[in-house]
Amino acid sequence: MTSTAAKTSAPVTPDVARQLYTTMVLSAACDERLRQGISRGEFAATIWPSRGQEAIPAGFGAALRSDDRLVTTYRGLHDMIGKGVPLVEVIGEVLGRRVGASRGKGGTMHITCPEAGVMLCTGIVGAGVPVAVGLALAARQEGSDRVVAVCFGDGATNTGSFHEGMNLASTWQLPVIFICQNNLFAEMTPIGETMHIDQVADRALAYAMPGFRVDGNDPEAVYHAVSEAAERGRAGGGPTLLECVTFRFKGHYAGDPQRYMPAERLAAAEAADPIPRYRRKLLETGVLSEEVLTAIDEQSKGQVDEAMNAVLAAPPPEPDELDKDFFLDMKGIPT
């Protein structure tokens, strides 16, 4: 089994195109609004911006079923949105308000929303990988054909957790789609300094797992690659590694001065911003009109503003939250 680029496929339907574009724009708007509020001192919060990486959740969001599962990371607000987590829950959790996904107890790094299939989000790099294997095992045990997607960065592929999880999924031939969002950096360190290989997709070879390198800035490419992997997984064909190559426009955390980032590099990446790129493509190919696209742009901003206002109007968590959702039975538990 060698890793190659995923097969190119037929163009997507207008409905899918609309979904792809909408997810991208909505994610970017949410990210933008959060960074704006943080930098202006409107609220205290931390995010790890996903701006630049939106084509990936757009693609898998459209390719996956709503009962398929997702595991993601601190840099996964775009993934949450792509998988259908309500904006208020996302923003509310980032701001630590009562309307957040976990009423402020989890924080940005720990948002879950099982109703949307988001079963885990980790702040520990690599930790979600083995958990995804367990989620897929449960699907098999239940006789369900749902699949599990797990997102992580390039840096995460250097962790022991990644290796153990990949090996287990391959050994048990479970329906996991390992989605590496390769943004070429881990915090301040470029990928070339932490691994010696040309492409992360090659790591699939260590497990005899299909592994593909995908243009992670092309939502249709991601959509097709994930669709194919999901089909294989549902049919009992086991896991797939997808390396989606992309870029991180805003650095590691909101406010990161990116002193380590060569200016030309960032400029080149921004010039290839996947959102205007896809917008142009949709216009050029006539799949969606300027009016439709503008409406999506505006609706997205509107939705983000509305959600943000709802969050800002919401109170902080009740003090008694500390005594909720800990052990179900508190008898004999230290106070």
Binding site: R103, H110, A127, A138, G165, W172, K324, G332, I333
Partner: protein, 335 residues
């Protein structure tokens, strides 16, 4: 221990096996995973012998040597409502699964505000006393007491082994059950059929009026031997309180027993310094301030890596003799 139910004589390891067998039979969501669990191996110490043959290899899963992934896969399955029982073969190896257990399982319910609780059971075994040296002999339960979000059970008898494990498996929160391989061959009366010991209930294994020995696991056996000896030869009437679980902690039983005797010795195979006994001694000293007749004495493993050579190993661990000596000291103490 007297019980109204029908019992039969079993070994400790047989009782563990029976608890697993009955849990597998009782609920189709229960499954086991770990290294070498399936037949013909049936577990390195026979704890899972016969179970894969009876319940199928899809209920008793052999894993690669991947402790992080064993825990992670259990976590993922638990997030979906399955009931996984993961085995970490020897407790020293749990060092490799700490991130998954501590950062994910123990925090899952709280961080998600009850949306994704994670009631895994992790079975592991203390190998101390078998001459296998410093990396195969540790008792690390103190670490888990200190992690809010996971229960810790450590049986000392076959009946408790069955009852605590059964309770842990069906508990709605994550549980760690520590078995003691040196006790695997010990025999006792075990209730027939489904049998659970409520987590957080200590058990007075021997009534006494002069001194309370607070212990759990293997130290209970030593404490009972010490008590027997002291009772028959020195007229000291020792009560042996078996905590059975460290979290939840049966503080009522602890207070009642020491309130009655006015003297306490705490014993365990974990290292004494900063061990479970530190919490217990601190608590007893504060609860009975002014009424204790002697300082609380602690008997734990000496503060050394565990040596392999038998004589040295014995000198590090607690024993009936060391417990008896501590009891005597509390009896002869004068301010």
């Amino acid at each position: 221990m007297t019980t109204a139910v029908e019992t039969k004589t079993m070994t400790f390891v047989g009782a563990v096996n029976e608890a697993l067998d009955e849990a597998l039979a009782a609920d189709p969501r229960v499954f086991l995973l770990g290294e070498d669990l399936a037949d013909p191996a049936g577990g390195v110490s026979g704890a899972t012998a016969g179970l894969s043959t009876k319940h199928g290899r899809d209920r008793v899963l052999d894993t690669p040597i991947s402790e992080a992934a064993i825990a992670g896969a259990a976590i993922g399955a638990a997030l979906e409502g399955r009931i996984p029982v993961a085995e970490i073969m020897i407790m020293d190896f749990i060092t490799i699964a700490m991130d998954q257990i501590v950062n994910l399982a123990a925090k899952a319910r709280f961080m998600s505000a009850n949306r994704t609780p994670c009631p895994i059971t992790v079975r592991t075994a203390s190998f101390g006393g078998l001459g296998t040296g410093a990396t195969h002999s540790q008792s690390l339960e103190a670490w888990f007491m200190h992690v809010p979000g996971i229960k810790v059970a450590i049986p000392s008898t076959p009946a408790d082994a069955k009852g605590l494990l059964t309770a842990a498996i069906f508990d709605p929160d994550p549980c760690l059950v520590v078995e003691t391989v040196a006790l695997y061959g010990s025999r006792g009366e075990v209730p027939i059929g489904r049998y659970a010991v409520e987590l957080g209930t200590a058990d007075v294994k021997r009534q006494g009026s002069d001194v309370t020995v607070v212990a759990y696991g293997r130290a209970v056996v030593d404490a009972l031997a010490a008590a027997e000896h002291l009772g028959t030869t020195e007229g000291i009437d020792v009560e042996v309180l078996d905590l059975r679980t460290l979290v939840p902690l049966d503080t009522d039983a602890l207070r009642a027993s020491v309130g009655k005797t006015g003297r306490a010795v705490v014993a365990h195979y974990a290292v004494e310094f900063a061990g479970p006994g530190a919490e217990l001694a601190a608590r007893i000293a504060a609860d009975h301030f002014g009424s204790l007749k002697a300082p609380v004495r602690r008997v734990g493993a000496r503060f050394r890596p565990i040596p392999a050579a038998r004589g040295l190993e014995q000198a590090v661990y607690p024993s009936a003799e060391r417990i008896a000596a501590a009891v005597r000291e509390t009896m002869t103490f004068t301010r």
